[in-house]
């Protein structure tokens, strides 16, 4: 966190100042470890073992926050008799189809759930083939997840063998401190200290928070890492309370914004799922699946209709399904890596790359560039001439002779972009806080903002389209922002206002509960509804912290409804009283008959704790006064996920796709549902192959940014870390004859790259399953271009194309490799070396 979120890390420093105890769990001793109370080294890719052992520790010693768990989680719900656990099936859950490598989640549901039918129906639809089966996860449901029976059978004594609590106990029973030592390389003493600290710092009086970023996500089991942390935090009562939570540190500035108003293929603004070409025929069909009918997703029609109204305005009416048909449709996985395969196969012919540098930043660099070289046209919008725009004239494949400029037919358009200081707009940060920024200076030369680009591109397209039916979606699209300045920049605040929503009177809305299903409101993103409340740009508020409460509600604006802590109803007990004075946050004021506290209650303000929903109630009315998780169909925190994940209802430890060791837990070595692309462009390192004995992980440096397009061209940053280096332990350095400051070559089945050697005891060999496992660390910020002030080989060229099946993130944190002293071979010799390694 100190490395990648140094400004946010000041609060960790501050917390330590005030007595918080900070653990840092990381394969390398980093700048974060330096400021932590305790550093816990871990083998990459083994965190589920550690988290599982913590869960086991809590369950076996009954250290869970029982009142919280009983009232607010699904611990007591009874799961279907058909459900089989990894413990029964040696690493698989029930419902696995080995042929398609996908799960049918039907058997994971609660006992006697009415959704069985729906689930069955879904299974049927999956028969359409693999691509549809892919859609069993968030692609299908959006963030709302699958609807689950809001009132399944329960056993409040938690003794029923099929209640979630008991399933958890059995599932995690073998995650012991001994296993942690064996697989993670964490000593029993360290584990004991961590377990003790986490549990004693949870409960009524205290809370523990977990903070993670891509060290937990870039794995074939990334989503399940987060699930494991969620289970632990729910058991300890650490969600929805101040000082609790599982905090994702997001990446690029406003990467949070770019998932809220998504640049992702499978969701629409506000985490509504993208409609599917074959499954979703009408708005009603779509809504039947887009999240549950109970809880706040129950208002999905209002969210969706308001979105359609924002986009198609008057053309969207009740009669024409509000132009639902105008939305594009998915036909399968259109994620980044599948698209690259499409490029290589020739099915993807044109490509926009906007603010991304996949030739350096994406795994399997060679495959990325092969794809780019096979396009008809490519548009790159960036601040500088990044490698993705210049691969055809100076990429590494030219050196090896795999590509020749004259053979590359891709027509490349480079469109210079304005940087964030050269335009107005918002950043949405990790805390869901929208912060408005003013333009500080005009962009140089031909550089224009992305907003300008898409707006004017849209205008040009609108000019060129026909009156035919096929062009109707574009023709009817509202595209009428006020233009400002000499270049006709569309007003960013007008866009924000549209996103924030307007009512029938044309006035800005103040809250998403005001959105209507009848087309009388429009809103570009329901969770942002209210950002322009009272016709004020709420994101631009900047009242200093010292002039307001610690929650600083008047600094920027947090979605939804300016809430700082989500699910904060859970900060009070079922009766609505604070769990403790120390941790009081949102509580029920009996006299006033409303929820109150320093934050905006994440609950209907006047719904009393004693509220019980009438039979057949829908949306939030279906949740009781003790259901804090209002986005869930049942209002509960899910210890066990009966639906919504494609690789199992519970996290289980699987080895990274490329691992030096066998999974001792199950016969199932790796995530059975993981996504791989077994093709000649992306060969894999065999498990346990002696020629790839070392574990390789990649990461960031404070001094650089991601693929380097923003830091390598800047002398002040580039001089601070001028060269690609690999971090190795003194033991490994001695073993291999690597000298500090000299060169090393790192090899995988994909390619070999060279890096300077940094011998450091911050990287430690670990004893895993009785043998020493060496880990090698590699920052990934270098490339050959982007101004060329400093250059270096591309770490991502080493990385495999193995993805988490839920979110399609690549496993760039854990792979295997070989290391040798000296520089890598050049040209054809490099290919010869790789050939050797590929065939062992």
């Amino acid at each position: 966190m100190a490395e990648c979120h140094p400004v946010g890390f000041q609060w960790v420093v501050e917390a330590r100042y005030r007595g918080a105890k900070v653990f840092h769990i990381d394969p390398r001793f980093t700048r974060t470890s330096a400021l932590a109370d305790r550093y816990v080294p871990i083998r990459v890719g083994s965190d589920i073992v550690l988290l599982g052992a913590l869960i086991n520790h809590v369950l076996e010693n009954e250290l869970d926050f029982r009142e919280y768990v009983l009232a607010y989680t699904n611990a007591s719900m009874i799961v279907s008799e058909e459900y089989r656990d990894t413990e029964d099936l040696d690493g698989l859950f029930s419902g696995f189809d080995p042929e398609t490598r996908t799960y049918d989640p039907a058997t994971w549901s609660y006992e006697g759930a009415p959704e069985e039918a729906a689930a069955g129906e879904r299974a049927e639809q999956m028969d359409h083939g693999r691509e549809h089966a892919d859609m069993g996860g968030p692609d299908q449901y959006g963030a709302g997840g699958a609807s689950a029976n809001p009132r399944p059978m329960k056993d409040p004594t938690l003794r029923h063998p099929r209640c979630v609590y008991q399933i958890l106990r059995r599932h995690f029973a073998r995650y012991t401190p001994e296993l942690v030592a064996e697989l993670c390389g964490i000593s029993p003493e360290d584990f004991a200290e961590l377990a003790e600290t986490v549990t004693t710092n949870s409960g009524r009086e205290r809370t523990t928070m977990w903070v993670y970023s891509v060290g937990w996500t870039q794995h074939t089991v990334g989503a399940q890492y987060i699930r494991a942390a969620s289970i632990l935090q729910l058991l300890l009562g650490n969600i929805g309370r101040p000082g609790g939570g599982i905090l994702a540190l997001r990446g690029h500035a406003s990467i949070q914004g770019s998932t809220d108003i998504p640049t992702l293929f499978n969701i629409l603004p506000g985490y509504l799922p993208m409609p599917h070409a074959h499954q979703h025929e009408t708005l009603d069909d779509y809504l039947a699946r887009a999240g549950g009918d109970t809880g706040f997703w129950g208002r999905k029609r209002s969210y969706m209709v308001s979105l359609l109204k924002a986009w198609w305005g008057d053309a969207a009416t009740e009669d024409n399904d509000f132009r639902f048909d105008h939305l594009p449709r998915l036909t399968g996985d259109h994620g980044h890596y599948s698209t690259v395969m499409g490029q290589i196969d020739g099915t993807v012919k044109g490509y926009f790359v906007v603010g991304e540098n996949p030739a350096v930043g994406s795994a399997g660099g060679r495959a990325q560039r092969l794809g780019l070289a096979n396009l008809e046209w490519l548009v790159v919008r960036d601040l500088t001439l990044v490698e993705t725009a210049t691969f055809w004239k100076d990429g590494p494949e030219l050196e090896t002779g795999e590509m020749r400029t004259e053979d590359i037919g891709t027509e490349v358009f480079f469109v210079p972009a304005a940087s964030h200081v050269e335009k107005d707009g918002t950043f949405t940060n990790t805390q869901r806080l929208l912060q408005w920024r003013e333009k500080a200076l005009d962009p140089p030369g031909d550089c224009r903002s992305d907003l300008w680009f898409f707006y004017h591109l849209g205008k040009l397209l609108k000019e060129r389209i026909t009156s035919g039916e096929i062009d109707r979606p574009l023709r009817e699209l509202t595209w009428d922002y006020p233009e400002e300045g000499v270049h006709g920049d569309p007003s960013a605040s007008a866009v924000l206002r549209e996103i924030g929503g307007v009512g029938p009177d044309g006035r800005a809305l103040s809250d998403y509960t005001e959105l209507k299903p009848d087309g009388s409101t429009q809103c570009g993103c329901w969770i942002y509804c209210g950002v322009y409340a009272d016709e004020v740009n709420q994101a631009a508020r900047r009242r200093p912290g010292r002039e307001q409460s610690p929650e600083a509600p008047e600094w920027g604006w947090a979605w939804p409804a300016n809430r700082r802590i989500l699910y904060n109803r859970a900060s009070a007990d079922p009766e609505g009283r604070p769990w403790s004075e120390r941790k009081a946050y949102i509580y029920w004021d009996e006299k006033k008959g409303e929820w109150t506290g320093p934050d905006v209650p994440d609950f209907e303000k006047t719904k009393p704790p004693g509220y019980r929903p009438p039979e057949g109630a829908l949306a939030e009315a279906a949740l009781s006064g003790t259901d804090p998780f209002i986005m869930q169909a049942d209002g509960k925190g899910w210890l066990y996920a009966p639906a919504g994940l494609v690789d199992g209802p519970l996290p289980a430890h699987y080895e990274p796709f490329e691992s030096p060791v066998r999974n001792p837990l199950y016969a199932q070595q790796d995530n059975p549902a993981r996504r791989i692309y077994p093709r000649p462009e992306s060969p894999y390192n065999p498990v346990g192959a002696p020629r790839f004995p070392y574990v390789l992980t990649t990461y960031r440096l404070t001094e650089h940014h991601t693929a380097g397009g923003m830091s390598r061209p800047l002398a002040y940053l580039a001089e601070l870390q001028p060269e690609l280096f690999c971090e190795v332990s003194p033991t490994l350095a001695a073993e291999l004859g690597l000298a500090n400051g000299d060169w090393a070559t790192i090899v995988t089945s994909r390619t070999a790259i060279e890096a300077r050697v940094l011998v450091t005891e911050r990287v430690r060999p670990l004893r895993i399953q009785g043998r020493t496992v060496h880990q090698i660390g590699l920052p990934y910020h270098w490339g050959w271009g982007s101004g060329g002030l400093v250059t270096g080989d591309i770490a991502n060229d080493l990385m495999p194309l193995a993805l988490d099946p839920n979110v399609y993130i690549q496993e760039s944190k854990a792979t295997t490799c070989d290391v040798r002293p000296g520089r890598r071979p050049r040209g054809r010799d490099l290919l010869a070396l790789i050939e050797e390694y590929r065939h062992g």
Partner: protein
């Protein structure tokens, strides 16, 4: 003169982000200092210099394990001049099973010390004392500033600084160092480096106030068992009369590249002239004797 302003750099909360280095370069529009991979932890800046007025040091320290498994005693000087030698007591003196046969090869928490160094703005500043042109002067904030339009590049200030701070820039010929953002101070702004520091490791303010704050911080750390915490340069009684930029360190100053007991060279200037006088007398006597005493020859 306005109140004396200064820096208190609390290295115990430095995260090594180098924002101070970059902010300084950005504000003062300094040239880059070359692109050299130094292979010294995360420090590729190497040292303060004419074009680097803030320098963040990175010191990796690991417990040293003796063959019998006992951690080496940490008292006294450690017989290594290398960076990896372990310095000072561990923050918590944790004990660990030793390497070799046990599950874990290396002890657990090492230390990675980080510290942002800068011109000390000495009370008795060697650079200022020796500057023959008056290019270096003391400002109304009690800081020491070089006026580049007066500096003649004689280079005398360079070896006169007991901290190796000031340096002459190649190709420019003049001497440069931190100005404590004299321009910003005059404009009522805090220095760029302090402003950019996310953790407040660099604290800027009236020196007296900073000294109090620092003393309190040391007390807190000592109370928390971090007895290795110490102040460096806060005492007006030291060899430079106290530093306008002083530090809280977690190890001996030399580990951070700082002189343990710096002295302003001009402290001994009167004595030096005295010895020069004696030498002059010797010269005179020698010449006189040669001419007068040598009559016989």
């Amino acid at each position: 003169m306005a109140e004396r302003m200064g820096f208190f750099t609390d290295t115990s909360i430095c995260i090594g982000c180098k924002a101070c280095e970059v902010a300084c370069k950005e504000w003062n529009q300094l040239p880059d200092d070359g692109f050299v991979f130094e292979a010294t932890s995360y420090d590729n800046t190497a040292a303060l210099g004419a074009s680097t007025w803030r320098h963040v040091a990175f010191i990796e320290q690991q417990p040293v394990w003796m063959p019998d498994g006992d951690p080496m005693s940490h008292g006294g000087p450690v017989p290594h001049s290398g960076p990896m030698s372990h310095g000072g007591p561990m923050p918590d003196g944790g004990s660990m099973p030793h390497g070799g046969e046990s599950v874990f090869e290396v002890g657990r928490d090492g230390r990675w010390l980080m510290s942002s160094d800068v011109c000390k703005h000495c009370t008795n500043a060697g650079c200022l004392d020796v500057c023959p042109t008056g290019a270096i002067f003391r400002t109304e904030f009690g800081t020491v500033v070089v006026q580049p339009d007066i500096c003649n590049g004689c280079g005398y200030c360079v070896p006169a600084c007991p901290f190796g701070v000031i340096d002459r820039r190649e190709g420019d010929g003049r001497a440069w160092k931190c100005t404590m953002c004299y321009d910003r101070l005059r404009g009522g702004l805090e220095p760029a480096c302090a402003k950019a520091c996310p953790t407040d490791s660099i604290q800027f303010g009236p020196l007296d106030e900073l000294r109090e704050r620092a003393a309190a911080r040391v007390d807190t750390l000592h109370a928390a068992g971090h007895t290795e915490a110490r102040l460096y340069g806060e005492s007006p009684g030291d060899g430079v009369g106290g530093m306008g930029a002083f530090f809280l360190l977690l190890d001996e100053p030399e580990v951070y590249g700082l002189p343990p007991d710096p002295v302003v060279p001009t402290r001994d200037l009167p004595a030096m002239w005295g010895w020069a006088g004696a030498a002059i007398a010797t010269m005179a006597a020698a010449v006189a004797a040669s001419f007068l005493g040598g009559r016989s020859r």
